[in-house]
Structure formats: structure tokens, C-alpha cells
């Protein structure tokens, strides 16, 4: 990383830290959503962007992570700081199962992606029939007292959630930056570029792909816990929905798969533009259901046609920053 990248990162971090000082509630909620998508996109990026394993079912880990922590809190009063670890453990179990099945039996590419969708789907159906978490009727956590911060139970004002997800996004960025420069990062990229050649250079591809899946699912579990305690309600139909998985991966794809800034940039561009369009249409008195999804499609099409590597690589070149 060069000096310009460091400057950009410093300015960006300072701006994001200062944001709650001057932003209204709406802007803060949009910023929180952007960071949530940026963090989750970064987690997905570890698997696809770094190691080349396409997951189209990352809503699985968000959902399992969310339900485990929320269920423990709701039924047993176990706080999210303890529940978090069980969420991570559960998501790792799912990730390891998918990874083992796929990599042990040589399932790759599109078929691997299908396997990830299948797991997300049958988990959704499973939770629809799981009474402990309320089944299709949903699971609700008592809405937070907005005026007091209860860190132990992760209940508090919107600013608290904003700073939490900001810290997570920064942490994930730092972790990924470190990973990319480490043995793991180089091995993952080698596997992504050509698995047979990677193996011929002594890389145990099974082991390193497993690591990518496990790490990605563990990171995504944390965004699930955040989701549960920020939104306070969970429905299998929503949280495990494939559209949620698509939403997670759109940010990195539009921003730049495999890059560090891509997931953040992509999440920001998508969320801001989509919200602006919705707002403008609402102001004009027009209401189209699903306009956001149509818009996502249009943006995706444009990026794939004109910037197939995403926005960030091109922008980085213009700014004189190495990706």
C-alpha cells in the first residue's frame, strides 16, 4: 500500500468517525447499512475475491449467526458477546460442511455456487419449521432503549450500532490487508488463478480452500449477530433469502472483486444511488415496487459491460493508488 492509499484511508476513517456529529438519523441509518454491507461483502470477498470460491449463499451465515445469538438472548438471556462465539462456531460448522463436501468430491465453479445456494435454502426451510426461533412467524428482540447505552447486551442508540459496524468494517479491512500480504493470501490467489498449478507448487489446495471458507463464514457470522441486534427482528423468509445473498455480493462485484476497497466502495455506491432513486421517485409521487432490484440489475449490467473488474481498479489507477 502506498502513500496515497494511506492518505485516502486516513481521510475516510476520520470522516466516518466524525459522521454522527453532523449527520441526521436518516443519514446515519444509511451509513450503518452501507458499512454493514461493506463488512459482509468483505467477508464474502475472502472466499470469492481471494480464493476464487463463488458463494451465492452467504445469507446462510448471516442468518445462522443472527438466529443463534438472538435465540440465546431471547430464551436464555445470554448476551451477544457470549452468543457471538456460538454464532461463529455454528457458521464455521456450516462452512466447513459445505467446504468439505465440495472440495473433497471435486465440486467447483458453478456447481459449488449451487451447493452454497442449496445449503442456504434448506436452512431457510429448516428455520421455517423450528419452533424455538418462532418458525415463519419470526423472532423478536425487545427494541433497544434509545437513550442509554447497554454495551453488555449491545442495546443502545443508533450511534452505538454505527460505531460498532464501523469498527468491524475497519477490523475486516485490516485483517484482509494483512491476509493478502501473507502466505495465505498468496496461496489463495494462486488457487484462484489456477488450482492445478498451485497444487503442483506444493500447495495443499484442499486445506487452504477450507481455511478461506471457514474464515469467510466466521466473519459473516459476526454480521449476522450485528443484524439481529440492530434490526431486532428475524424472519427465515427474509434473512436466508437468496436476494440477501445477492445483495451481499453486489457491493464487492461492483466495487471490485478481490480488492480491499472494492466491497466498501461498491456498498456505498449501490446503497446511496438506490436510496436516492427511491427518494426521488417518492418525492415525485411515483411508487414502483421493486424499483431497487431493477436498479441493482441496471448497475450490475453497466459495471460488467464497462468496468468488468469493478469500479475500484479503474478508480485506483486514476488516483495513483495500487489496488
Amino acid at each position: 500500500m502506498n502513500r496515497r492509499a494511506a492518505i485516502l484511508l486516513t481521510v475516510l476513517t476520520a470522516g466516518l468517525v466524525a459522521l454522527p456529529g453532523f449527520a441526521d438519523a436518516y443519514v446515519l441509518s444509511v451509513a450503518t447499512l452501507i458499512l454493514y454491507l461493506a463488512y459482509t461483502g468483505q467477508a464474502w470477498n475472502v472466499m470469492m475475491g481471494f480464493a476464487g470460491q463463488l458463494s451465492l449463499g452467504h445469507s446462510l451465515y448471516v442468518g445462522v449467526g443472527a438466529y443463534v445469538a438472538a435465540g440465546l438472548f431471547f430464551h436464555l438471556g445470554i448476551g451477544p458477546w457470549a452468543g457471538l462465539w456460538l454464532s461463529i462456531a455454528a457458521c464455521i460448522a456450516f462452512g466447513a460442511a459445505i467446504g468439505f463436501l465440495a472440495f473433497r468430491f471435486g465440486i467447483s465453479g458453478v456447481y459449488f455456487a449451487l451447493l452454497t445456494i442449496a445449503f442456504a435454502e434448506f436452512t431457510r426451510i429448516g428455520f421455517d419449521h423450528l419452533g424455538w426461533t418462532g418458525g415463519p412467524g419470526g423472532l423478536f428482540i425487545k427494541v433497544a432503549q434509545r437513550d442509554q447505552i447497554d454495551l453488555a447486551n449491545f442495546r443502545g442508540p443508533p450511534e452505538m450500532y454505527y460505531y460498532a459496524i464501523l469498527a468491524l468494517t475497519a477490523g475486516a479491512f485490516a485483517l484482509c490487508a494483512w491476509l493478502l500480504g501473507s502466505r495465505a493470501g498468496y496461496y489463495w490467489q494462486a488457487i484462484r488463478e489456477n488450482e492445478e498449478a498451485a497444487q503442483a507448487l506444493g500447495i495443499n489446495t484442499f486445506r487452504w480452500k477450507m481455511l478461506a471458507v471457514v474464515l469467510s463464514s466466521a466473519m459473516t457470522a459476526v454480521s449476522g449477530v450485528f443484524f439481529a441486534f440492530y434490526y431486532n427482528n428475524l424472519f427465515p423468509e427474509q434473512i436466508f433469502n437468496i436476494s440477501r445473498s445477492i445483495e451481499i455480493i453486489l457491493g464487492p462485484i461492483i466495487g471490485g472483486v478481490g480488492t480491499l476497497f472494492g466491497p466498501i466502495l461498491g456498498a456505498a455506491v449501490l446503497t446511496i444511488l438506490a436510496d436516492t432513486i427511491t427518494e426521488v421517485l417518492a418525492a415525485l409521487g411515483w411508487e414502483f415496487p421493486g424499483v431497487k432490484q431493477v436498479f441493482y440489475g441496471v448497475v450490475l449490467l453497466a459495471v460488467i459491460m464497462f468496468l468488468p473488474n469493478g469500479i475500484w481498479p479503474t478508480l485506483a489507477r486514476k488516483l495513483g493508488i495500487s489496488k
Binding site: R183, Y186, A190, N194, E196, Q199, G202, I203
Partner: protein
Amino acid sequence: MSPLLDVRQLSKSFRGLKAVTGASFEVPVGGLTALIGPNGAGKTTIFNMVAGVYAADSGEIRFCGNPIGGLRADQVCAAGIGRTFQIVKPFAGLSVIDNVMVGALLREKGVPAAKRHAAGIVEKLGLGAKRDLPAASLTLPDRKRLEVARALATRPRLLLLDEVMAGLRPTECDQMVELFRELNRRDGLTILLIEHVMRAVMALAKEIVVLHHGEIIARGSPEQVVRDPAVLECYLGEEAEV
């Protein structure tokens, strides 16, 4: 002294098609052996069995006296056998130096040490000026060099070269021959190569193994082999007259 690579009665068929039948040969420590034969003779199949890409139907492969028949490709590499691919497989999105560094990481402790080791090899292969370019931008001869550089970075005791001279100009071919000769003589690297470019084979090989229809039909010094009537008939033809 036992041979470095000992191949005994190796056979492999693909859906009934016999690719290799009872092939036996050995490569001594410090050897420089060429595997030649017409297209489809089974040369690359033998390579892939030695390199752990697929298992032999029958027969035995020993490296440094240890059987390596059931090992995976990465385990074979870790045991000390480096290989190149006939159809080059660069890590297209990574720079030249990073390509080589991935190989170097096998024996080096960390990224900085691996990068240093890789830099030396990149220079040796004449890719120094292109070290920071993405591998995707390399020409075919440079990609062949990159294959060799990457394999060398794993510090192999035995190097398997699969048609690395193909597509090189005669002068480039001679440079490559010189490089391998030096690696063999000075660093004691044992080399087994598949090659069609007879100019390189004759200049390089201490021993030639000739494969035809999956069977070994001749073995010996380059001088012996090019005079062998069976070899002349099936493979070399008039070329040997030159």
C-alpha cells in the same frame, strides 16, 4: 547408488485406451534424461503419474528410494519434484515475481524471504525486466520461462520439464539449454525432460528414453538412440540424418 527416480512397470489406461504399458526406466542422481516419442506416445501421462496428478493402474514409482505412487501433486512437490506444464498455467492475475514467489513459499519461512529467493530466480530466467508485470501480459516464450522459474523456486531435487523449448527461437532455445546444463552441472539438479526439439535434446540429454504407443522401445546415450533403427522408423525419420 540407487537412482533418484525409479519407474517400474508403470501402466495406465484411459477408458480402455492404453496410454502407458509397463514402462520402466530410472533417472540417476545428477542425471539429465530426455523422454522422447511421437505425439500420443504417453510421455505426458508418465509425467502426470510421477507428479501425482493421477495414479497409475499398476507399477511403482520411487523417488529417493521411497514410493511416491499414492501421493497428491502437492505432496510430490514437497518431496522434491518440481514440474512445468506443457500447456502453460500461469497465475495470470499475479505479477511475474509473485508467481515465482508462490513456488518459493514452499521452502521459505515468510513472504519477504520467499520474495528474495524468487527475485534471484526471475533474474536467472531473464525475466528481471518484467518482474512486476502481470503474468497475463507475457508472451508464450516468457510464459515457458515463468513455468520453469516457478518450478525452480520450490527448490526441487528433480525437475520435470514438459516441452519447455516448444515455440522458442533457436537462440532462445540455446539459452535455455545452457541454463539447464548449468543447473545440472553446478547445482546438481537432476532433470527429466519431455521434448520434441531434437536440437535441445541432443545438446542436453545424457540419456534418452524413447516411448512409442505407451511402450519404451529404446534407451541409451543420444548417439546410440539416434542410430537405433526402431527409433528412426517410428519417430525421428529423416530428422536424424541432419
